[in-house]
């Protein structure tokens, strides 16, 4: 194609050019008048501002979101504290300032110097924190010595407070200073060194919801670096609030019941998987962290042999002991190796291989049926049942009933427990399954490991007729003024396939554990409330016979009590585990009973559906 380039055709532009010139003149006049305005009219003002460059930037921390219990009672709040920061630009003489400052703040001068030096690269116009949460005395010292402390400023900062101290500390979690690895994450791009972020529990898992958005302001300072006035300011956006499934009152009962013990308690709504209360003992005080934990306190927590930072309810893996007999019994009935009418003879021990396997009751239960074997927790019955089933059929039901796997609880570091099979044994140890191990497994000893939360989900599923709920701790995330951001409805992860007859039989037997004569769980009985439960005593050390009372405390048995109530249409599941507590019926059942009593007292006469409604609609936070 031939281009038209070679034609000498011109473009008539002078007519348009007139208008274009006008536009250009207007635009340049605009710039000139703006320069006139800045440089001539306001020149002196700006010159003044620039002399010392008196404009500083200060960040305003966003208030963190609040956690509420299911009734809308706040579990955390905030209190004002005073922070000291410095504008390096306004410090005329660092050598003179440091001694004066270290006296006022009773701080190590070397540390102060290191802090002031550490941000050499950053903007000298930006406030940097020197000490957080100073005492009233320190505040008075700084304020009265303003003249000796140029460039030093005191701010009021809102700090997180946990009014109930240790209560539910493993669920709530704690805050800590952001670390290098976290600073590099995309979601923390606006964070700086020294910021507090969630490090554990809900505070960590819901950090992005809770943190909000910091604001900031430009302030004009005087020659001493003191705030004169605010030029521009952007208010921070508070974090979103979380509504938990927790019931503060039940939680208090649980905390009290476990006050001097080690172990864990999980209280669950079997109809939704809601965690109504959960504790792990020993615990810690999240307030220590909110102010920036001291190295001594942190070391003490880490070195404590009882591991107070571990959440035993989801991370503690324990042998289930006799609680496991529920699984063995279900397996026996479903696999039809026994019927409810099948009886075995218990003489107090059972010979197998070249060994006698003991029943906890030395004198024996005599001829005994399945119901009574559960009520009285007969070991010999379950040894023989276990032998009929074999290890892999027991494992099949344990897995189907939710053991040996994560429950899907939203908080980090949940442990799966262990359901041993013959292939697992071969792989793990290289030797085949021994017959005697079947006996141990059938009564929940041996390789079996469960977490208290797992048992609570499994028991809830048995109680509600077979629905596996994912344990739920956060119901909803709401914006500061109440509008819904996200909701977490109850989630049924799967259904267990156990025949209704079997379930009915088990529920009735568990009712018997608490309410029949000879039942091991009599101490959990609540007048008027049909409690169904099971005791468990998990051996910590292998021994041939007898109880553990004569052993040193760290070798005492773990005590389990697991229950739900009412036996029909259950509304509450309680799982209590007391480490080295001895016998389940004696040590753990009373803790569970206190929870049941409190729950019954408060819900008496209220229909379950009403209760449910009350929980699903959290009260908006009070201002």
């Amino acid at each position: 194609m031939r281009l038209k380039l070679d034609k000498n055709e011109t473009l008539e532009i002078s007519s348009v050019l007139v208008y274009v010139n006008i536009v250009i003149i207007v635009v340049f006049s605009l710039i000139f008048s703006r320069l006139w305005h800045l440089q001539i009219i306001n020149g002196e003002y700006f010159k003044n501002l620039s002399e010392n460059n008196r404009i500083r930037i200060q960040e305003i921390a966003a208030p963190r979101g609040i956690l509420y219990d299911h009734q809308g009672i706040p579990l955390v709040d905030s209190f004002p504290s005073f922070d000291v920061s410095a504008f390096r630009q306004d410090i005329p003489d660092m050598q003179a300032l440091i001694p004066a400052l270290s006296r006022a703040l009773s701080a190590d001068p070397e540390k102060l110097r290191a802090k002031l030096d550490s941000t050499k690269g950053s903007s000298p116009f930006q406030a940097m924190k020197l000490k957080t949460d100073i005492t009233r005395e320190e505040l008075a010292m700084v304020e009265t010595r303003r003249l000796d402390l140029p460039g030093i400023m005191v701010d009021v900062v809102i700090r997180r407070n946990y009014p109930y101290g240790n209560l539910a500390s493993h669920l709530i979690g704690y805050l800590g200073e952001i670390n290098q690895e976290e600073l590099e994450r995309e979601e923390f791009t606006n964070h700086k060194i020294g910021y507090l972020v969630g490090k554990y529990g809900i505070e960590q898992k819901f950090e992005l919801d809770l943190m909000g958005e910091n604001g900031g302001r430009q302030i004009e300072v005087n020659a001493l670096g003191r705030k004169k006035r605010i030029l521009e300011s952007l208010e921070p956006n508070p974090g979103n609030n979380l509504f938990l499934t927790l019931d503060l009152e039940l939680q208090k009962v649980v905390e009290e019941g476990m006050a001097d013990k080690r172990g864990a308690v999980v209280v669950m709504d079997p109809q939704s998987g809601d965690i109504l209360a959960l504790t792990s003992k020993p615990d810690f005080d999240p307030n220590l962290f909110a102010r920036g934990i001291s190295p001594e306190n942190w070391k003490a927590l880490l070195r404590n042999p009882a591991h107070p930072l571990q959440n035993r309810a989801i991370q503690g893996q324990y042998p289930p002991g006799s609680v496991f007999k529920i699984i063995t019994a279900i397996a026996g009935l479903e696999e039809k190796v026994i019927t409810p009418e099948t009886t075995f003879h218990c003489s107090g021990s059972f010979p197998y291989g070249n060994r006698e396997y003991q029943c906890w009751k030395k004198e024996g239960h005599g001829r005994i049926g399945l119901r009574q074997a559960i009520v009285e927790s007969c070991d010999v019955y379950h040894y023989q049942l276990g032998l009929r089933l074999g290890p892999d059929r027991i494992a099949k039901y344990a897995l189907a009933l939710g053991l040996g796997q994560l429950t899907g609880f939203p908080l980090s570091n949940e442990k799966p427990g262990l359901v041993p099979t013959s292939t697992w044994k071969k792989k793990r140890f290289g030797i085949p399954w021994q017959g005697g191990e079947t006996l141990s497994t059938a009564i929940g000893q041996g390789y079996n490991l469960v977490t208290p939360l797992q048992i609570a989900t499994t028991l809830s599923a048995l109680a509600n007729g077979g629905k596996f709920y994912q344990p739920r701790i956060v119901q909803s995330v709401r914006a500061p003024y109440g509008e819904m951001i996200r909701e977490f409805p109850p989630v049924v992860t799967r259904n267990i396939h156990v025949s209704p007859e079997t379930l009915e039989f088990i529920r009735e037997a568990l009712w018997g554990v608490v309410n029949s004569p000879g039942g091991t769980g009599g101490r959990a009985r609540v007048e008027g409330f049909d409690v169904a439960g099971k005791t468990g005593t998990a051996q910590v050390v292998q021994r041939r016979e007898g109880r553990s009372e004569h052993l040193p405390p760290e070798q005492q048995d773990h005590a389990w009590f697991v229950c739900f109530a009412p036996a029909r249409q259950p509304q509450i599941t309680v799982v209590a585990l007391i480490e080295h507590g001895g016998h389940g019926g004696a040590a753990a059942a009373p803790v569970a009973r206190k929870v049941l009593e409190n729950f019954y007292k408060r819900t008496k006469g209220i229909s379950p559906s009403l209760l449910k409604m009350a929980r699903e609609t959290p009260r908006p936070p009070m201002e």
Binding site: K4, I24, V27, F28, I31, L38, Q39, K47, I55, R217
Partner: protein
């Protein structure tokens, strides 16, 4: 064979103006990056290298008749698109936007090159497609695509400033093309529809940046702080300025971009209203020479090219200075020949070379 008229018609005013602005630019870079510590080559020295390379490009361009370049307008345009696409995949990211392409040991910004490519491509289109009745909407489909493709790629980087310059340059060329009144009306409506859509695709920080100049409260920590400090710098220069290397604002390096997007604040602080006025006058002179060349060009091609190049210099000057004095949002556009940056300097000088080229050949008849 050599034609005496080539020398006779050489636009010395244009060359001297450009040289003068470049000289001021180097002086100012010396100040805005002062003190020159460290072992790396100081930026003002590097800027001199870029300027020399630009002069080389300029000389090369003058040798050939400008119509030769229009012949290669489309291949050049597609090469630019290719480079922009390459930036998308292999580009170097600095402070959140992917603008740089590393070729061997040099790195450059294809988005700068795309300004020139767009002007050439539009010129080529309009001389090939004439419409004495005035252009209608349908005629403008190709120019629209010529703009839209690089615009999209540049916008994605993201580079709001260059995107704006591309759109405004294209509109400026259209102004001279004799569009029907109705077409202008349609374009206006189209614009009204496009702006909210465009707004929707902006990232949050970009929205904040665009709005902050109207309301510095929106972002007192970053952009708002820059605007405040930039205004203080400019204002504190008063009539005569604080003197070379004496700008307190500049010497404390409160602005991260004071050698690129905010060079004008350094100049205005140290040389005052007089200095700022003089610099803007030189830039205005550059633009008006460009438009004069367009007016006296012997053909449509030369006129269009000259209009495009002048428009680009004009809009960059307006956006950059407007942003520094706080009347235009902070979008990031280099000030021609003043801001540090190799690609920008070389492309601007090449554009000026094209202007000279058109001026020199205005009395030559084509064969």
């Amino acid at each position: 064979m050599f034609d005496r008229r080539l020398i006779l018609n050489f636009d010395w005013t244009l060359l001297i103006t450009a040289a003068f602005i470049s000289f001021i630019g180097v002086i100012n870079l010396y100040s805005s990056t002062y003190p020159h510590t460290g072992t790396a080559t100081p930026l003002f020295i590097k800027q001199i290298y870029w300027l020399l390379m630009g002069v080389g490009g300029m000389a090369f361009i003058i040798l050939f008749d400008y119509r030769t370049f229009i012949r290669y307008a489309y291949p050049f345009y597609f090469l630019c698109l290719l480079l922009l696409v390459m930036v998308m995949f292999f580009g170097r990211t600095t402070s959140g936007s992917q603008r740089w392409l590393q070729l061997g040991f040099i790195s450059f910004q294809p988005s700068e090159l795309s300004k020139l490519a767009l002007i050439l491509a539009l010129t080529r289109f309009f001389i090939e497609n004439e419409n004495p009745q005035g252009y209608g909407l349908r005629d403008l489909l190709t120019p629209f695509l010529l703009l839209a493709i690089p615009l999209f790629l540049v916008f994605k980087q993201p580079d709001l400033g260059t995107s704006g310059v591309l759109v405004l340059t294209c509109l400026s060329v259209l102004t001279f093309m004799g569009l029907r009144k109705k077409t202008w009306g349609t374009l206006l409506v189209g614009w009204a529809v496009a702006v909210p859509i465009f707004w929707h695709f902006l990232k949050d920080y970009q929205k904040t940046r665009l709005l902050t100049f109207l309301n510095p409260d929106l972002d007192p920590m970053k952009t708002g702080y820059h605007i405040t400090q930039s205004k203080i710098a400019v204002g504190s220069g008063t009539i005569w300025g604080k003197g070379f290397l004496k700008g307190t604002q500049s010497q404390l390096h409160f602005l991260p971009e004071q050698h690129t997007d905010f060079v004008f604040s350094v100049w205005a602080e140290e040389w005052g209203f007089i200095g700022a006025f003089a610099l803007l006058f030189l830039l205005l002179l550059l633009i008006s020479r460009g438009l004069k060349i367009a007016n006296t060009s012997k053909d449509k091609a030369g006129a269009l090219l000259a209009i495009g190049i002048s428009a680009q210099i004009f809009w960059q000057t307006f956006i950059n200075v407007g942003m520094v004095v706080g009347i235009v949002p902070v979008v990031g556009v280099p000030l021609p020949l003043m801001s540090y940056g190799g690609t920008s300097v070389i492309v601007t000088l090449m554009g000026i070379g094209i202007l000279m080229n058109i001026s020199m050949r205005r009395f030559m008849l084509s064969r």
